[in-house]
């Protein structure tokens, strides 16, 4: 703020000064000039709570606008005859069917079955792939040796292997959880390996110059440095776990949301089918959100982008 404009403002603006100008004009005068700690945010007055609330509501409205528009389209398109209501019932009918499914306990039962398989497989994948990835990433020759093989596995669609899993492990829970584990392992493993490989070499040099032992170096430098990239892998795996599971449940299952969707379609219970689909997508979004929240907690230090 230049002093030139400060002195000019009162001259141009006579009796009723705008509130913003008043604050700006009076504030700097009593404060001593050399601020001990430049850029300290502590002294700044808190934002007006009402204005903050308004801003948050506006942000919420903006963010939900597209979803609301989709729901509106879904409701009106079948009613106006733009889509066949037999195959695409209005969203209100789907909501009713969803409520019915929830009340008679079917939805809960299928969702539970799916979540157990999906989170179980996902959890196992995290427990296996993160330590394995750290190990492989640390031994560069091993990473170089296994890299191409891992790429082949990663790029082989997990569902293409479903028949193999069924052949080897039968049609029960084992094969379903296994296919989820399989599909989740690759993104976590590959991201973890590259996270270790990409750890800032200067930081490694620093730790070495301080004569840190390898386990210490891992604990204090490599591990924290890898958290963001590992979490990217974990989030990808989270999405994959649900994707793969639903498909697996469509083949030879007696419970689960995939089964519910498939069976409803078979029985021509179309609103129920959409109810299942909506539930799947809600779970997917919620799961991702959860992982994003954990990620933020673990990496508050990152440069805000």
């Amino acid at each position: 703020m230049s002093t030139g404009t400060d002195t000019a403002v009162p001259a141009v603006l006579p009796a009723p000064p705008a509130p913003a100008e008043e604050v700006r004009g009076s504030a700097p005068a009593p404060r001593p000039l050399p601020d001990a700690a430049p850029g300290h945010a502590d002294g700044r007055p808190a934002r007006h709570p009402l204005r903050a609330l308004g801003r948050r509501l506006r942000a919420l409205a903006l963010r939900s606008a597209a979803i609301l528009a989709l729901l509106a389209l879904w409701e009106t398109a079948p009613r106006l005859g733009l889509a066949d209501p037999t195959f695409l019932p209005p969203v209100s009918e789907v909501a009713v069917a969803w409520w019915e499914l929830l009340r008679d306990g079917q939805l809960g039962q299928h969702t539970w079955a799916s979540l157990v398989r999906s989170f179980g497989g996902f959890g196992i994948a995290v427990l296996v792939a993160v330590p394995l990835g750290l190990l492989i990433g640390w031994y560069r020759p091993v990473a170089a040796l296994l890299g191409p093989l891992l790429e082949v596995f990663r790029n082989t669609a997990a569902l293409a292997l479903l028949p193999v899993f069924v052949l080897l492990l039968g049609i029960g829970e084992t094969s379903k959880v296994s296919i989820v584990v399989y599909a989740c392992v690759w993104p976590i493993l590959l991201n973890t390996i590259s996270a270790v490989g990409n750890a800032d070499p200067t930081l490694v040099r620093l730790a070495r110059s301080m004569d840190l032992s390898t386990p210490r170096l891992f604990q204090k430098v490599i591990l924290p440095a890898s958290v963001p990239a590992v979490f990217t892998g974990i989030r990808l795996a989270g999405a994959v776990s649900i994707l793969v599971l639903v498909a697996a449940e469509m083949i030879g299952a007696k419970a689960g949301l995939g089964y519910l969707i498939n069976a409803s379609q078979f029985n021509f219970a179309i609103p129920q089918m959409y109810a299942g689909i909506v539930t799947i997508s809600a779970i997917g979004v919620a799961f991702n959100q959860l992982l994003v929240t954990i990620e933020r907690r673990l990496s508050t230090w990152r440069v805000p982008s």
Binding site: A36, A37, H40, D200, T202, L203, R205, L206, R208, S209, M210, D211, L212, R216, K220, V221, P224, A225, V227, S299, W301, R302, V303
Partner: protein, 270 residues
């Protein structure tokens, strides 16, 4: 007995000879600046002294004992700061202390003390991305000083900073050196920086890196300890003595730079 002795040190990487015939003695509490053209093996020299790599031939003695690996008796300050981005300024200084086995409670107090020494009181809780380049390097210097090494090894620590920040950190470093009495080995490619900081300036040749000449630098009654009263800052930099030293070292380096560029050109055209 000299604090650090290089005896006929040679370092090769495959067919490439980075350093050859390095003989050098550094006294305890001395401030030595090594200056040379880029790619002359200055950083290799520091790596060897830091114990991050071993010489192909010859040996390096620290307090009369050969250097066999890294240790907390030497602290390295890197050009790229090497701060842990997930730790605060205080946490980064504590990082150095964690390796020494100082109890947790004392670590914090000591870290604060050293942040204060480099003029960063009030910034303890900032993360590196919230600090300017100069502040980051101050944190790195505080970290290296906190675990109290005898020798401070600095690898072009101010090269990434703007001119004004660099000059103020140079003054700060001299002040810290005078207060702590550390032996400092400072690598740079800046002639003015070398003349301003060093008690001795070792000029290196390029490819293979050798010590061409060691120029002792003394400015009349420049303050030895405590509060400054002699010439400092701009006054010193614009003095005729300073210009003479600058010119001498420039002349020594000039041929080397020309030769290094010639070599680079030849390599690029192959």
């Amino acid at each position: 007995m000299a604090k650090i002795v290089f005896e006929g040190v040679r370092k090769t990487f495959g067919d490439f000879t980075a350093l050859d015939g390095i003989d050098l003695e550094i006294e305890s509490g001395e401030f030595l600046v090594v200056v040379g053209p880029s790619g002359c093996g200055k950083s290799t020299l520091l790596d060897l002294l830091g114990g991050l790599s071993t010489p192909t031939a010859g040996r390096i003695l620290l307090d009369g004992k050969p250097v066999t690996g890294p240790g907390l008796d030497r602290g390295i300050v890197f050009q790229q700061y090497a701060l842990l981005p997930w730790r605060t300024a205080l946490g980064n200084v504590e990082f150095g202390l964690e390796a020494t086995g100082v109890p947790r409670r004392q670590r914090k107090a000591r870290a604060r003390e050293f942040l204060d020494l480099v003029g960063l009181s009030g910034f303890e809780d900032r993360h590196p991305h919230q600090l300017s380049g100069g502040m980051r390097q101050r944190v790195a210097i505080a970290r290296s000083l906190a675990y109290d090494p005898d020798v401070l090894l600095m690898d072009e620590p101010f090269a990434a900073l703007d001119a004004q920040t660099r000059e103020s950190l140079q003054d700060e470093l001299r002040r810290i050196w005078q207060r702590t009495g550390k032996t400092v080995v400072f690598i740079t490619h800046g002639i003015e920086e070398a003349v301003y900081l060093g008690q001795k300036v070792a000029v290196m040749t390029s490819r293979p890196g050798r010590i061409k000449e060691i120029v002792p630098v003394a400015f009349g009654e420049r303050p030895g300890t405590g509060t400054a009263s002699g010439p400092q800052g701009e006054e010193l930099r614009s003095s005729p003595e300073f210009a003479r030293y600058r010119h001498d070292i420039w002349t020594l380096l000039h041929d080397e730079v020309a030769r290094a560029q010639q070599l680079e050109k030849e390599e690029a055209s192959v």
